[in-house]
Amino acid sequence: MMESMSYVNIFETKGLEYLLVISFLIGFIYFVRRLSYSRPATAPAETPESTKTAANPDMVCPAGADCPYERQRMAAEKEDQKTAVVT
């Protein structure tokens, strides 16, 4: 006599729980890797050519923005150059 077909009960054997654990571990790796590849909210703005004027050829400052530190740096550089010429 042929034996009747029997299925494995995924609930009674806790097979579902094993599958959950395995899928969690795979998902966790993917999740953490995805978090590590974060992208900046805004791309760094490129300096438009218009701001590189003849007077300030080295100035790296977005158009329309006030850049006091940049001005200070350039003023200090100019001062240094003057002192170097005098000495």
Binding site: F24, R34, S38, A41
Partner: protein
């Protein structure tokens, strides 16, 4: 040689300094003060009534429901929110993640005050509050009792947090030698504190293991201690984000402009930690649901309430945090942290109040007096936090001599 007159003069100067520090700084009539002061006064009156006439005079507690809003919110939820202190001190002092150093002091102060006020609010809830000393002096306690563990841990952790914070007090008072000694104790205290925290955060969950027949099966699980511990990690991190954001606005004048920029980076880092912990927590929740074979509850009103907590305030904030971290969106991290805090309140109240005694014909609702006293505790904590931050170097830079001291220690090492 120090003469008696010199000692007296020093003492006089010290007392004058303390007296000047006791004076209020800033405006008295601010919107926060106008709202909080009447509530604190009303709460103080209710506390007097509670101690004079007993618990029944101000609470809706009964023999059937002896633990109410004060335990569920003040203690169980408040301690989870204070979890940020052990997470951050572990990150900074053990893992050497120096990025988070600027927020250590404020976080430890927040944790210390949370334990002092919320765990201190236990006194209100004890029918015989003078018996609170029993576990400490060894009178009528059980070694196997979880409450015994929690009582000792709360007390020891408060000491540990005070030692972690004590260098700040020494800097405020200008006690250079004492500051050096206290700073030397920090690492050992942090290791001790983190050990205590992991045990009592899970211990709070273990308290509810005794009430298997009272808690709804969707919330009762033998893994409650693990769930409480994991959720305390992201509860604490979310609280730091929330509290730090408010502190950066309110105490903006105390913070070095250079540190304003780094705060955004810190918030994103905290959000990343929170999302990883929430991912793990969500997985535990799903696994426990499957393990407990809770299919039969699908469609039940309790099941939908459970879904609100797990999907609405765990999975969605987790995804918001993840999205915020990948897109470097600081505002989204802040929104996710608020949703997470609501989720933690919901979870702790579900376990301790809402799904507790769920079959009872007389469900418990907190009285207005219980809520007013809880608000009084919260507002008093905020007042003390503000008082300390306005006087001690919590957010602002430490005095110049601290850098000299640290430099000489580095050279000696």
């Amino acid at each position: 040689m120090t003469t008696r007159a010199e000692i007296m003069s020093e003492m006089g100067a010290f007392l004058r300094f303390l007296r000047s520090e006791m004076r209020p700084k800033g405006k008295l009539f601010t919107p926060f003060n106008i709202i909080s002061l009447p509530i604190m006064l009303a709460g103080a009156v209710l506390v007097v009534i509670r101690f004079a006439k007993g618990l029944g005079a101000v609470t809706n507690l009964s023999q059937e429901t002896p633990w109410g809003f004060w335990i569920g919110f003040d203690v169980v939820t408040g301690v989870a929110f204070a979890g940020g202190a052990y997470v951050i001190t572990f990150m900074v002092y053990i893992m050497k993640a120096e990025k988070y150093h600027p927020i250590v002091r404020a976080t430890v102060l927040n944790g210390l005050l949370a334990y002092m006020f919320y765990a201190g609010a236990l006194m209100l809830d004890l029918g015989r509050p003078w018996n609170i000393i029993n576990p400490i002096i060894g009178n009528s306690f059980g070694y196997n009792s979880i409450l015994f563990l929690v009582a000792w841990h709360f007390m020891l952790y408060m000491f540990a947090e005070f030692i972690e914070f004590s260098p700040v007090v020494a800097e405020w008072l200008g006690l250079r030698r004492l500051r050096k000694i206290l700073a030397g104790l920090t690492l050992g205290t942090v290791i001790f504190g983190v050990t205590l925290s992991t045990l009592h955060q899970s211990g709070l969950g273990a308290l509810f293991l005794l009430a298997k027949s009272k808690i709804h099966p969707l919330w009762y699980t033998e893994f409650l201690p693990i769930l409480f511990l994991v959720s305390s990690v992201f509860a604490g991190l979310s609280m730091i984000i929330f509290e730090g954001t408010i502190s950066h606005k309110v105490f903006a004048n105390q913070i070095d402009p250079k540190r304003h920029g780094s705060f955004d980076e810190i918030v994103l880092g905290l959000g990343k930690g929170a999302t990883v912990a929430m991912f793990l927590y969500f997985f535990f929740k799903v696994l426990i649901f499957v393990h407990g074979k809770h299919w039969s509850y699908i469609g039940d009103p309790w099941f939908w309430w459970y879904m609100v907590e797990v999907i609405g305030f765990v999975l969605i904030p987790c995804m918001l945090f993840a999205r915020a971290v990948t897109t470097q969106n600081v505002s989204l991290v802040k929104i996710a942290s608020i949703a997470t805090l609501i989720g933690i309140i919901l979870n702790r109240l579900n376990v301790s109040i809402i799904a507790f005694n769920w079959t009872s014909a007389n469900p418990y609702y907190p009285s207005v007096a219980e809520i007013v006293i809880t608000l009084m505790v919260i507002f008093t904590e905020i007042w003390v936090f503000r008082w300390v931050v306005n006087r001690m170097p919590v957010l602002r830079e430490a005095p110049f001599w601290v850098n000299e001291q640290q430099e000489s220690e580095r050279k000696a090492a």
